[in-house]
Structure formats: C-alpha cells, structure tokens
C-alpha cells in the first residue's frame, strides 16, 4: 500500500458505520517499557516489552436517530466492551483492517456555537489488537447462506489468537442471521473447520456488534467468514479477521 492522503478511513463500532460521520481516527498500540539494565549491560540500558495496550480515538460530526448513528450507538456502548474495526483505505473485501475488543471509556459531544455538532469517542483495548483484513465488506446485503473469500492469515500460535469482529449494520425483514469463522489448510476449503460462531441476530436485535477471540494453536492458515440466514430478509454486515 503506497503513501496516501487519508480520505476513506472506515470506522465500525458495534453496529454503527461511523465512516461518513468521522473526520479523524487514530489507532495507537503501545507496549510497556520494562527496564532490565544490569551491571553487565556495558553502560547501556536494556529493555524488554511488558504489557501491551491499544487505544482508538475517533472524532466527527454528531448524528442521532437509531443504533446506526454515532449518538445512539455510543450511548448504549458507553462503559461496555465491543468490537471496533478500522480500515485505513476503504473496506473492500480483503482490505487491510485492524480490529479488537475495546472498552468505550469516553464519549464527548457538542461544542462551540456555530460549529458543526461534533462527537469524540475513545476506546481502550481489552485484549490484544489484531492486524488483518476485512473478511466481509459492508456494501453487500445478504439474503441467503454463504461464505466469504478465503484469506491466508497464517496459523495461530499457542498463546496467540485471531480476533473476529462482527458488525451488523442493518437487518430488514424477519431473518435469523448467524455468522461464523472457518479455517482450512488450503484455499479451496475442502474441509472447513468452524472456529467460532457468533450469536444469532434477528431484526429485533439489530444493529449490533459482537467480538469473538479464536485462541491458538491453529495450524490452518486459510480463514474466511461464513453465514446462515433463515427466514425472509436481508442483512448488511462487516466481518474483520485479524491475527493478534
């Protein structure tokens, strides 16, 4: 991915796509600096990495109406944990994405007279941050069972995991939608293994977000999103898969 001007950073939190209402998104990953300097360090400090943590901050233009808008979504999620996914250059299938579970610790709204009504959110990571891909893009409504494109995200080592985030953006009709994460040892997915299954979503519970960790060890290197839809209706959703 070449150098670029930021104009299309996609931000999903819970069941809200905040992209078109956001103008600043920052993702920060930090590892604690632990000093291990000793008398044999030859006069220089030595360090090892300690605990890691991440923080997402977003800002933009305030809107309200239902859970697909920032105010409704942020108010419901305040103090709770949920999935946040950030894609730096669009959310096409396979696009680079960072995802994890975050505690929404801060929500700031409104500002100076005459300004566009603003919002600001801060999420603190709960668990490791993952760097991966968009495994199902937001623009395609689904009405029947299906699978996403297979992506080579590598094996998951012991004590590591794959972050799986589901953002259900809208549900129309009366479907029951169940998404899952599958892996296989080859791109053809001749023998897929279900690694995680999200809770079923119906129209009454939408929009919403769900986060599932897929713990290692997993030797399969190919991953994809898959889903079943029963009943009548359509679902718009995003799945992000990211090794962490």
């Amino acid at each position: 991915m070449a150098k670029q001007v930021l104009t299309n950073v996609r931000l999903f939190t819970g069941g809200a796509d905040l992209t078109a209402a956001s103008n600043q998104v920052e993702l920060e990953a930090e590892v604690e600096d632990l000093d291990t300097t000793n008398f044999a360090s030859a006069g220089w400090r030595e360090r090892i990495g300690g605990l890691g943590e991440g923080e997402v901050t977003g800002e933009g233009q305030w809107e309200a109406g239902d859970l697909s808008f920032v105010d409704d979504a942020a108010w419901v999620q305040l103090g709770g944990r949920g999935p946040w996914s950030i894609a730096p250059a669009g959310a096409a299938d396979g696009a680079l994405a960072y995802t994890g579970q975050f505690l929404e610790g801060s929500y700031t709204l409104f500002g100076e007279v005459g300004s566009i009504a603003p919002w600001a959110l801060t999420g603190m990571s709960s668990g490791p941050l993952g760097r991966g891909v968009i495994a199902h893009p937001p623009g395609t409504a689904r009405t029947a069972d299906g699978t996403g494109v297979a992506r080579n995200l590598g094996a998951i080592a012991t004590n590591r995991r794959l972050n799986a985030s589901l953002h259900v953006l809208s549900v129309t009709g009366t479907p029951t939608f169940t998404a899952r994460v599958e892996s296989d040892d080859a791109s053809g997915f001749a023998s897929p293994v279900t690694r995680a299954t999200f809770a079923a979503v119906t129209a009454a519970g939408s929009p919403q977000g769900q986060f599932l960790p897929v713990p290692g060890p997993v030797t399969d290197t190919w991953w994809r999103a898959a889903w079943t839809i029963t009943g009548t209706g359509s679902v718009l959703f995003v799945v992000a898969l990211a090794p962490a």
Binding site: L6, N8, T19, A20, S22, N23, Q61, I116
Partner: protein, 144 residues
Amino acid sequence: MDLRAVRRAIADAAKAVTPKLSCHPYPPAVLQARSFFVVDVQVDWDRAHARGLDAVTLTARLLSGAADQPAAHEQVDVYLAGAGTGSLKDAIEAIRPSRGGALASSGVAHDLHVRRFTGVREYEHAGGYFVGGDLEIYVIGPGT
C-alpha cells in the same frame, strides 16, 4: 451536494423578506435596485471520510438600492436585522431542519448557518452603482 440546488434554495428563501428583494441563485445580467444573489463559493471537500460531508461557504450579495439614495443605506440595516420580516438571516435560516424547514428533507443539504455580514459599500454592476454588502452562508451536506 448539488451547488445549483443550494444556490436556488438560498435565493428562494431570501424572497420571504419585506421589502421584497429580487433574488437570484447567480449574478443576474440585469440588476434591479433591490437585489440578492450568490456571488462566490468556497468548497471544502472531504470534511468526513468516504465523501461523507462537504462544507460550502457561499457569499451572497445584498444590494438594497441606488448608492445615491440615503434611504437605500438605511434599508441595508433593515435587511441585517437578526429577526423580523426584513431579516435576511431569519428568512434564509427558516429552511433549516431545526426550524421545520425543507432543507434536509429535500436532500439539498444537511444544514446551513448565516454567519456574518460584511462590507457595506458601493458596488458597481452593469454601469449602475448600488449600496449593499456580503452575507457569508455556511452550508454542510453530503459529499456525494
């Protein structure tokens, strides 16, 4: 955001003031003594990601009458009132969604704000001299 529709919406809104103004979305070829028209546009694209928001600052010119008429100079102040039947700010902002206006429901823009008026002076147009000034109108709307 369709700037043509924004200009027309602002010009149409300004027609509500009294004394009546001849209101135009673009500078007219033939100017009447009391006129209002949009003369300048500044567009700030990409105020939100994925072309979610553009912001436009329009300059609209008020000409209240012939520059050699004292009443025309006083009339400028009537149009600059914050409220009342002569208030251009009030008339234009009447189309805001927060005031039940049709700006958002018509799809023209999300919202607008008449921010300031500047430059009471004489303007020459097509050989005539008029007194008036410029209104700065801030409009936000979808980037697509």
